[in-house]
């Protein structure tokens, strides 16, 4: 086992890229507009190269990851603040690894898609103020700096990798809060519309949750010092703490509210539509595709393992909120007139499904939820990017301003349809596998919740297909009659996402192989087992699966009791080994 610090290096590469970008000549450098464009092009190329290097490193980590091996791999632990037991501790399990993979894939895509975003906004601002009467002392509108935008994107990537890779709760908290800062600037400075309101709302809302989590983190540390032990923030040691039920409940709430705001879970969702609408499409993809997953990742990693009894106690509440979120998000999405706001509300609905899968406390549900996190990042990311391409051509967010685009830009319309169908979880596309797993996993425990959640699929069909019908089909509006089709750069940006959506829909096994053991460990940590099916198979010649709801991806193996008990025995020994 080599001791090369893979995770630290992978996390540091984007930061190095941001520093390199910061060192390139900026606005004060001499030269006219042509030189400025050349400098901006250099910045964008550096950003693309560094994000591709990060992607390559992440793929190497994923290939070297042993799916059936110890729970946390690529671990590194260094003392950071010894007096408080704070360590710089990183390590990935299956869930963290697939989320880091997804973020690493999304970043070059976002860099490519945001190539012209900064110039577009500057042009829009200039155009909108061109007709206004000159007030005395007014200056020309400030041109926004592409340098800062792309540098912040890379810093955000470092923070994201840090959040997913941290195994020290304090380090996790640091990254959790730090990732808000670049996002705030990306929305507030480079966005459109009510961007300052949206950015401040996003920042304050997330900070509020973060402060509640800080209280819980400090309390965890204090409880870890009881009995005369040296207090610690290491996750693997904190998960062995025994706390009283009341303590667990309060601490769980502290963590959970922070993650519920981040996820977002209804009713803490109102920051998302404003932030996603005001942000540039690339920033919106990062916001919805990656930052939201930090919330659900926190739920499945920290809330469940650290506070098992509290997780069971609050499960009914979370299930209710999730189902409400699914239906509410879908219904409100149907009524939106703004394209990006509609997609943001669909995100609220899908995240409700993810939390439902997590708190159903079955291996299928949690596997489905984790897979959904990955698939949703790609599907909603593609949808946002394509909507962004349309907006950059027509300069309007409103659905009513489009019509008949498929006759004018068939490639754009076709990819938009595929991304939309992925949003409604069409079988054959990746999101179907995850949605199916979540619904099956929930149905084995909470039939009513699963039935109501399935109704969300019908609502999803309404909002996606109606939006497609209004924007793409029908008579061509004169304003969109000259809309150019996708350029090569845009195709390179959104093509990989569509390809992944289709590929993972047919062959999700590589991802599922990584996720399944990690979900298994999580279920053991939360002291939960899969429900016994009422009619186990009697024929011995059949495979080990005992439920009739075996999905084609082979996850039925996990639900077999025999495998589970055998795995449980192995897992206990593995857990003791990893915490030594």
């Amino acid at each position: 086992m080599s001791t090369f610090p893979w995770l630290t290096v992978t996390g540091a590469v984007p930061l190095v890229g941001a520093i390199v970008i910061a060192l390139t000549p900026g606005r004060s450098a001499p030269g006219g507009p042509a030189d400025r464009r050349a400098r901006d092009l250099l910045v964008k190329r550096i950003a693309l190269v560094f994000s591709l290097i990060t992607l390559a490193l992440t793929i190497v980590i994923a290939v070297k990851f042993k799916a059936g091996g110890p729970r946390f791999q690529f671990q590194q632990v260094y003392q950071w603040i010894p007096q408080f037991g704070v360590h710089y501790a990183v390590g990935v399990d299956g869930i963290a690894l697939v989320l880091i993979l997804m973020s690493a894939v999304l970043m070059p895509v976002v860099v490519l898609a945001s190539w012209n975003d900064v110039e577009d906004v500057t042009a829009t601002v200039a155009a909108s103020t061109a007709g206004a009467p000159a007030t005395p002392g007014a200056r020309a509108p400030r041109t926004r700096s592409a340098k800062s935008y792309f540098a912040m994107m890379l810093v955000l990537e470092t923070m994201i990798i840090g959040v997913f890779a941290a195994t020290d709760v304090f380090l996790f908290y640091v990254f959790f809060e730090a990732m808000l800062v670049p996002m705030y600037f990306m929305i507030g400075s480079y966005g459109v519309g009510q961007r300052q309101y949206a950015a401040v709302k996003f920042l304050l809302y997330s900070l509020l949750g973060g402060l509640l989590m800080l209280v819980a983190v400090i309390a965890l540390y204090v409880y870890s010092t009881t009995g005369g032990h040296q207090g610690t923030f290491l996750f693997t040691q904190l998960s062995h703490l025994t706390l009283s039920h009341t303590t667990q409940d309060w601490l769980f709430l502290g963590f959970f509210i922070a993650f519920a705001i981040k996820a977002p879970l209804w009713p803490f969702h109102t920051w998302l539509p404003d932030a996603a609408t005001s942000a540039q499409p690339g920033a919106a993809v990062l916001l919805v595709g990656v930052l939201d997953k930090v919330g659900t990742f926190g739920m499945i990693r920290y809330c469940l393992d650290l506070f098992p009894s509290a997780a069971h106690y609050f499960t009914p509440l979370v299930i209710v909120l999730s189902v409400v979120g699914i239906l509410y998000g879908a219904i409100v999405a149907i009524g939106q007139a703004d394209m990006k706001r509609l997609i943001a509300y669909t995100s609220v609905s899908h995240m409700g499904l993810i939390t439902l899968g997590i708190f159903a406390m079955t291996s299928q549900g949690q596997t489905g939820a984790t897979l959904y996190m990955v698939n949703h990042g790609f599907a909603t990311g593609a949808l946002f990017l394509l909507a962004g391409f349309m907006v950059s051509r027509r300069k309007s967010h409103l659905i009513a301003d489009y019509g008949g685009v498929q006759k004018v830009a068939p490639m754009l319309a076709g990819l938009f349809l595929v991304a939309g169908l992925a949003g409604l979880a069409l079988p054959g596309l990746s999101t179907f596998v995850s949605e199916f797993l979540v619904l099956v996993g929930t149905f084995t425990r909470y039939e009513a919740a699963a039935i109501l959640a399935t109704a969300g699929i019908i609502l999803a069909a309404i909002y996606i297909l109606w939006m497609y019908q209004r924007t793409m089909t029908g008579p061509v509006r004169p304003e969109v009659a000259h809309m150019p089709d996708l350029k090569a750069r845009e195709l390179w940006a959104v093509g990989p996402l569509i390809a992944l959506i289709v590929f993972l829909g047919v062959y999700p096994k590589p991802i599922l192989d990584i996720i399944n053991p990690a979900v298994h460990s999580t279920l053991v940590g939360v002291h939960s087992t899969d429900p016994v099916p009422p009619h186990p198979a009697t024929a011995p010649a059949r495979s080990a699966s005992t439920t009739s709801k075996v999905s084609k991806t082979g996850t039925g193996k996990i639900t077999s009791l025999a495998h589970h008990q055998h795995g449980q025995g192995k897992q206990t020994r593995r857990k003791q080994g990893s915490s030594a």
């Binding site: 969702h269 509410y328 409100v332």
Partner: protein, 187 residues
């Protein structure tokens, strides 16, 4: 109405026979729809073909069973009624008003209307209501919290008058309170 009776088309329109690419498949299908039934039933072809799966049904004595004969008689009666009602007279160019049943049949037995009234319009109202509720209600709560803090800080700011006399007065009041508290506690 379509194939018999007087011509009803405009002078400029010329309905013509379909081209062979349409008629040839239709001829094949027509032969099939006439002959397939007999072909499958006679000599027990379909039954012996499906035999391994469904098992062999009890042997029928020919096609002319009481039930079959009754069905055929009904067909003949229906044809007769249709000829009496419609076949003998000229079919009017505009559709007659018809009685309640006819009108209901033309409107899909009001299936669309029920759908729209029961599901579609309430769905639209629910959607608009939810959007309003989300923008004003849920978001309103968030903005209310923000406005409360902003508003109260704006009001509390006015305590800072900038006059030294107000600060001196508040120091005096504070000192009096402190001394009074000490005295009370002593007692």
């Amino acid at each position: 109405m379509t194939f018999f009776g007087e011509r009803r088309w405009d002078e400029k329109v010329h309905p013509h026979e379909a081209p062979p690419i349409m008629t040839a498949p239709m001829i094949v299908l027509a032969i099939g729809s006439v002959a397939a039934g007999g072909f499958l039933i006679l000599a027990n072809r379909l039954m012996s073909f499906l035999g391994p799966v469904t098992g062999v049904p009890p042997v029928l004595h020919g096609i002319w069973t009481p039930a079959g004969g009754g069905a055929l008689a009904l067909v003949v009666v229906g044809v007769a009624i249709a000829w009496v009602l419609y076949g003998r007279r000229e079919v009017p160019v505009t559709a007659p008003a018809g009685n309640l049943v006819t009108v209901a049949a033309r409107k899909d037995l009001y299936g669309d209307a029920i759908n729209e009234g029961l599901l579609m319009r309430p769905g639209q109202w629910l959607t608009r209501l939810s959007v309003y509720f989300d923008n004003r209600g849920v978001d309103g709560l968030v903005n209310t919290v923000a406005a409360t803090f902003g508003g109260s800080s704006g009001r509390m700011r006015k305590v800072q008058t900038g006059f030294v006399r107000s600060y001196a007065l508040s120091m005096l009041v504070g000192a009096v309170l402190l001394v009074g508290t000490f005295l009370l506690v002593r007692l």
